[in-house]
Symmetry: C2
């Protein structure tokens, strides 16, 4: 079915195959369906293959890493808020962070909830802050823009430094 | 004009300078302009304070971390491409990655460029791939969507697990 559908597409040289008269492509693949297929297929074909992600994706891995980062930010935000008006809670949270790594968001929050009822309240606040910060305060467009700018700058710097280094050696010779 | 405009703003102590009677504030800052200013300023005031970023920003820190991630992806993409059609280059790059950590993008590329002319060609390709992948293939909108979904799911899971655990203890008592 697919091959016959492809066979009746206009010939690049302008010579339409004879079958076209008998079995028009529209019979199998209506014009809308064909257009949709060609648009859908295009980005997938042009994408580079990234091995080793199995069922996940680079986007998912980046999101996991960002979640840990937002957890770390939420802890800092809550600490800064507490420092000025609830010294006791500030000291308790600070002491807890010295014993538990903030890098693994999941186990950090898991342990914090179970530490004591007061710590549980702090954990609830951190969960709320990390979600609110991510959804309202974090500038996602800016992240994309900054990343584009940084990769260009980093690439240029690496090449320029190398060229400067090698041309310097040639000058000395 | 601007400085004279500022001079006629209401005095903090309530003592309006003499000129105010003659040149009311509205003459310089019309009601629309003033309303627009207050709206523009609002989101900035509502943002949570994140301490400890100095001249940088959470967005910049996340972008740096993503650049390292894209470098790691680019190395994997190039390795996968080479494996099938340039075995020699594949073995060379593989051997280099075993000696140099891919986690620090900058020093990895710096060392790769300087390793040998053949390694330099590989480094150029990695620089190109990491930029192209980031700009064309990586799904930024999907990253944002996934992050929102993951933070909600993670928050619910943490709270549900805790509730289940504590209600289980109460059942046993």
């Amino acid at each position: 079915m697919v091959s016959s559908g492809c066979a009746v597409l206009p010939h690049p040289a302008g010579v339409a195959p004879r079958r076209r008269q008998h079995v028009p492509a529209q019979a199998f693949w209506g014009p809308e369906r064909r257009r949709r297929l060609s648009f859908e297929a295009r980005p997938r074909c042009h994408k580079m293959y990234v091995p080793g992600f199995g069922e996940g994706s680079p986007e998912k891995k980046a999101a996991i890493s960002l979640l840990n980062f937002f957890n770390y930010l939420a802890v800092r935000i809550v600490l800064a808020q507490l420092e000025s008006y609830n010294r006791e809670a500030y000291v308790e949270l600070k002491e807890f962070t010295s014993r538990n790594s903030v890098n693994d968001a999941d186990s950090f929050c898991k342990n914090l909830i179970r530490e004591s009822p007061r710590h549980k309240a702090l954990a609830m606040r951190i969960l709320e802050v990390r979600s609110a910060y991510m959804k309202n305060d974090f500038e996602w467009d800016n992240l994309k823009k900054l990343s584009f700018k940084m990769v260009d700058e980093a690439n240029i710097k690496l090449m320029r430094d190398y060229v400067l280094e090698t041309s310097h050696i040639e000058d000395e010779e």
